[in-house]
C-alpha cells in the first residue's frame, strides 16, 4: 500500500466524533454477535462435555430420550452380562442402571416450581460417569433419604444448601452434598440412590442403563448384540453422540437468532460507516486530487480509503470484544426439551468466537468503505483540485 497508513489513521482522528460513532456502532454489533455465539456455544459445550465415546447408554427401543424410556430389572441384568463391558479396579463390571425422572422442585427466590432431573444411581455410576466430584459435603449414604445436588442447579433451588432438606415425591430428602461434573449436564441434576428413588417415583423400571466399553471401537458389536437379543427391547447409543444430538434443536434456534439479529444490526452499522466514509471522501477531495497529481494510482487511493474504513471498524470490533468478554462464565438456564427439565450452563467466550467477531468487524468496514473508496479513486483529477 503506497499511500502511508498513517495518513488515513490521522485523517480518521481528525473527525474524532464521527469516526468514534461509527466505531461504536460496529462495537455494539460485534458485542451482541459475540454474546449470542457464546450463549449457543456454552449450551452446546455443556451437552458435548457430558458424553464420552467409550460409554454406552441403553434406552428402550424407539425412544431417543431418557424421559420416555423404561427398562425392567430383568433386562438390566441381561445387559450387565455383556462381555464387552469394562470392569473396574474392584473387578465389578462398570454398569450403571439409572432412574431418570424430572421432578418438581421449589425454585430459589420464590419463583414457583421448576422441573429438575432426579437421577437414581448405584455406586457404580460414579465410576462410569467419570467426571463426578463431590465439592461440598459427602455422597448420599446408602439406605437413607439423601441426595446430592449438582453445582450448576443448586443456586437456583430453594433449600438446596448442604444439610438442608428438599421435598419431592411426597418426601423430604437431606441434601448430603454438592457435586461438580466437569461442566456437563449432570451438574443440573439431583442424584439419589436407585433403591430409594424408585419406589417413590416411577416404580420398578429404570430409564437407562449406562456402561463403559472395554474400548470405544466395540460399540458396533454391542449395538448389534443388543438389537438382536430376543429377550430385550432396547437400543444402544454412544453417550457422546446421544448428548450432542440433544443440543441440536436449541442450537438451531440460537444460531438462527444470532444470525438474524446481528445481520440486521450489521446492515445498520454498515450504513453508518457508509455515511462517515462518503463524508470523509467529500471533504478531502482536494487531498485526493493532490495524491493523484503526485502520481499515486487510483487503486492506491481506493486501497487507502478502504484501509481507513477497516481500521475504524476494527477499533469498534476490539471495543465490542472487550465489552463482551466479561460475559464469559455467566450462568444462565433454559429447558432441555429432551428431558423437559432445567439445564444450567455458562456463556462461553472462546478465542475463536472473538476472532470471528473481529473478522465480522473487518468485513463491515470493508463493505461500508467500498463504495466511498471507489468514488474517491474514480474522481477526475482536475475536478478534485478545483
Amino acid at each position: 500500500m503506497k499511500i502511508p497508513l498513517v495518513y488515513n489513521l490521522r485523517s480518521a482522528l481528525r473527525r474524532p466524533v464521527s469516526s468514534a460513532m461509527t466505531a461504536l456502532g460496529v462495537a455494539f454489533v460485534v458485542g451482541v454477535f459475540i454474546a449470542m455465539l457464546a450463549l449457543a456455544h456454552g449450551f452446546r459445550m455443556a451437552l458435548v462435555k457430558t458424553g464420552s465415546p467409550d460409554n454406552v447408554l441403553v434406552l428402550r427401543k424407539g425412544t431417543d430420550s431418557e424421559l420416555a424410556s423404561g427398562i425392567s430389572r430383568n433386562e438390566a441384568n441381561i445387559i450387565a452380562a455383556l462381555p464387552e463391558i469394562a470392569t473396574g479396579p474392584d473387578g465389578q463390571p462398570l454398569v450403571s442402571p439409572e432412574v431418570f425422572v424430572p421432578v418438581s422442585l421449589e425454585a430459589a427466590g420464590g419463583g414457583g416450581d421448576r422441573l429438575v432431573v432426579a437421577r437414581g444411581v448405584t455406586a457404580q455410576a460414579f465410576a462410569v460417569r467419570r467426571t463426578i466430584r463431590i465439592v461440598e459435603g459427602r455422597r448420599f449414604a446408602p439406605g437413607q433419604d439423601e441426595v446430592i445436588i449438582g453445582t450448576a442447579i443448586a443456586p437456583r433451588l430453594a433449600h438446596s444448601a448442604v444439610g438442608d432438606s428438599i421435598r419431592f415425591g411426597g418426601r423430604a430428602w437431606l441434601v448430603a452434598g454438592h457435586f461438580s461434573a466437569g461442566g456437563s449436564v449432570f451438574e443440573s441434576e439431583v442424584w439419589g440412590e436407585n433403591e430409594q428413588l424408585m419406589p417413590v417415583l416411577r416404580g420398578e423400571f429404570f430409564q437407562v442403563v449406562a456402561f463403559r466399553l472395554k474400548s470405544p471401537g466395540l460399540f458396533p458389536e454391542v449395538r448389534a448384540a443388543l438389537d438382536q437379543d430376543p429377550r430385550l427391547q432396547v437400543d444402544a447409543h454412544r453417550e457422546s453422540e446421544f448428548y450432542a444430538a440433544q443440543s441440536a434443536a436449541l442450537q438451531t434456534i440460537l444460531s438462527f437468532l444470532a444470525v438474524f439479529i446481528t445481520s440486521i444490526m450489521a446492515i445498520g452499522a454498515i450504513f453508518g460507516a457508509l455515511n462517515t466514509m462518503y463524508a470523509a471522501v467529500a471533504s478531502r477531495t482536494g487531498e485526493i486530487g493532490v495524491l493523484l497529481t503526485l502520481g499515486f494510482k487510483p487503486r492506491s487511493v481506493m486501497a487507502s480509503f478502504l484501509a481507513e474504513s477497516v481500521a475504524i471498524a476494527l477499533v469498534g470490533g476490539l471495543v465490542g470484544c472487550l465489552v463482551a468478554i466479561p460475559i464469559n462464565g455467566v450462568v444462565t438456564s433454559t429447558t432441555n426439551w429432551s428431558s423437559f427439565s432445567m439445564l444450567a450452563f455458562h456463556f462461553l467466550v472462546t478465542p475463536g468466537i472473538l476472532a470471528a467477531g473481529l473478522l465480522f468487524a473487518a468485513v463491515m468496514g470493508l463493505v461500508g468503505g467500498y463504495f466511498p473508496a471507489r468514488r474517491a479513486s474514480r474522481m477526475p483529477v482536475v475536478q478534485a483540485l478545483r
Partner: protein
C-alpha cells in the same frame, strides 16, 4: 408548515445519506419490534386460557400420571362443571423433525370443555367420537402436511411404543388467536388398549361454573389429595401455560437487552449523520441568519430534519414488521402461536423514534442556534 420546503431541501441535498440513515432507523425499529413481539407473544400465550378452566397435574412433576379414579372425585368438587383429561402422546410422524403436539383425550368431554376455543363441524365431531382409531387435526397442521379428510396417517410411538394408524375424521379451527391450530387429538382409549398396565391420565382439565371460584377449587382439590400417593398441583390454565413459557429461561431479559443494544447502535448512526450534515452547512446557517432567520427557527429546522428521518424510519420499520409477520403467518414453527406486533409494541417503537430524533438532532440544532453569522460566513470547511 411553510418552512417545510427548506427542511425537505436539506434532506434531499444528500439523498444518499438521508436514505441510508432512514433505512438504518427502519432496520433498528424492525428488529426492535420483532424482538419485543417475541416477549409479548410468549406473555399472551401465557394469558391464553379461558378463566373458567383449571389444570390439575401431579405435584411430583409433569411427567407423572394421575389415577383414573380421580375423575369422579374431581367432578364432585363444588364449583366444577365438567372434567376431562389428556395425555401427551409424543409420537413421531415420519421424521422427528416433523414435530407437532399430540394429545390422547377423552373425545366427548375434551371437545366439550374446549368448545370455546375449538370449532369443529358437528358431523366431524360425531365421526371422531364414534371411531376409536380416529383423530382430529388442527387446520394449519392439515395445510402444513397437505393431508385430507379420511386419510390415514401413522404415528410411531415413543412413549407408547409401536405404530399407530389414525384416520383423520375432523379438522378444527381455533377461535382464539393464541390457541394453537397445529395439534392432533386421538382417543385415550386407543392408546390405553395396548398399555393397560401403566397408562393413566397425564393431567385433568376442569371447567368451572364460575371463574371466581378458582382459588377455592384449587385449594380444595390439592388438600383432598395432599397425603395420597399421588398429590396434585391445581392451578388456572393460565398459570399452567405460563409455566411453560418460563421454561424458556429469561427470554424477556435477553430480548430487551439486545433490543437496547440495537437502539443504541442506530442512535449513533443517526446522530452521526445529523452531525455530518450540520457541519457542512455552517456557511448556510450564517446566510440564513443574516437574512433574518432567528435562532429558535433554525433550531426548529434542524430538529424537524431529524424528526422527519426518524418518522420515516419508524413508519417503514414498524410497518414492515407488522405487515411481514402477519403476511407470512409467522409462528416460529409453532413455538410462538399468534405472533403479532401489538399496538403496545408499535407505540413503544414510535416513542423510541421520537427519542432518536431528539437525541440525534439536539446537538446540531443547538449549535446552529448559537452560531454567530459572522463566524459562520468566515468558516471554510
Amino acid at each position: 408548515m411553510k418552512y417545510f420546503p427548506l427542511v425537505w431541501a436539506n434532506l434531499t441535498r444528500h439523498k444518499r445519506r438521508t436514505v441510508l440513515t432512514t433505512l438504518s432507523v427502519a432496520l433498528a425499529l424492525f428488529l426492535f419490534a420483532s424482538l419485543r413481539s417475541v416477549v409479548t407473544t410468549l406473555r399472551a400465550s401465557a394469558d391464553v386460557g379461558s378463566e373458567t378452566r383449571m389444570v390439575v397435574q401431579s405435584a411430583k412433576g409433569i411427567v407423572f400420571f394421575l389415577p383414573q379414579s380421580y375423575r369422579e372425585r374431581l367432578q364432585a368438587v363444588p364449583g366444577v362443571r365438567a372434567v376431562t383429561w389428556a395425555d401427551w402422546f409424543g409420537g413421531v410422524y415420519q421424521d422427528p423433525k416433523n414435530f407437532f403436539a399430540q394429545f390422547a383425550v377423552d373425545p366427548e368431554s375434551y371437545l366439550d370443555v374446549y368448545r370455546g376455543d375449538m370449532s369443529l363441524p358437528a358431523d366431524q365431531r360425531a365421526a371422531f367420537i364414534q371411531e376409536r382409531t380416529a383423530c382430529v387435526v388442527g387446520r394449519s397442521l392439515m395445510e402444513k402436511f397437505g393431508w385430507h379428510l379420511g386419510q390415514t396417517i401413522t404415528l410411531q410411538g415413543t412413549i407408547f411404543t409401536g405404530d399407530w394408524p389414525l384416520t383423520i375424521r375432523g379438522v378444527y379451527r381455533s377461535l382464539q388467536p393464541s390457541f394453537p391450530e397445529d395439534a392432533l387429538l386421538l382417543h385415550y382409549d386407543y392408546a390405553y388398549e395396548r398399555n393397560r398396565t401403566w397408562m393413566e391420565p397425564g393431567w385433568y382439565v376442569l371447567e368451572l361454573s364460575d371463574p371466581g371460584l378458582a382459588p377455592q377449587v384449587a385449594a380444595a382439590i390439592d388438600r383432598m389429595f395432599k397425603n395420597s400417593s399421588d398429590p396434585t398441583k391445581t392451578g388456572t390454565e393460565q398459570a399452567f401455560n405460563t409455566s411453560f413459557v418460563t421454561m424458556w429461561g429469561n427470554v424477556s431479559f435477553l430480548m430487551d437487552t439486545i433490543g437496547m443494544a440495537v437502539v443504541f447502535a442506530i442512535l449513533l448512526v443517526a446522530a452521526n449523520s445529523m452531525m455530518l450534515s450540520a457541519r457542512e452547512r455552517t456557511n448556510e446557517v450564517g446566510v440564513l441568519k443574516t437574512v433574518g432567520f432567528g435562532d429558535r427557527l433554525l433550531f426548529g429546522l434542524v430538529m424537524a430534519e431529524a424528526g422527519t428521518i426518524a418518522a420515516s424510519g419508524a413508519i417503514l420499520g414498524l410497518g414492515a414488521a407488522k405487515a411481514l409477520f402477519h403476511a407470512i403467518h409467522f409462528t416460529a414453527m409453532g413455538f410462538l402461536p399468534g405472533f403479532d406486533v401489538t399496538a403496545g409494541t408499535l407505540a413503544l417503537g414510535v416513542g423510541i423514534a421520537a427519542l432518536l430524533a431528539a437525541a440525534s438532532g439536539l446537538v446540531p440544532a443547538a449549535a446552529a442556534a448559537r452560531l454567530s453569522p459572522v463566524q459562520a460566513l468566515r468558516h471554510v470547511e
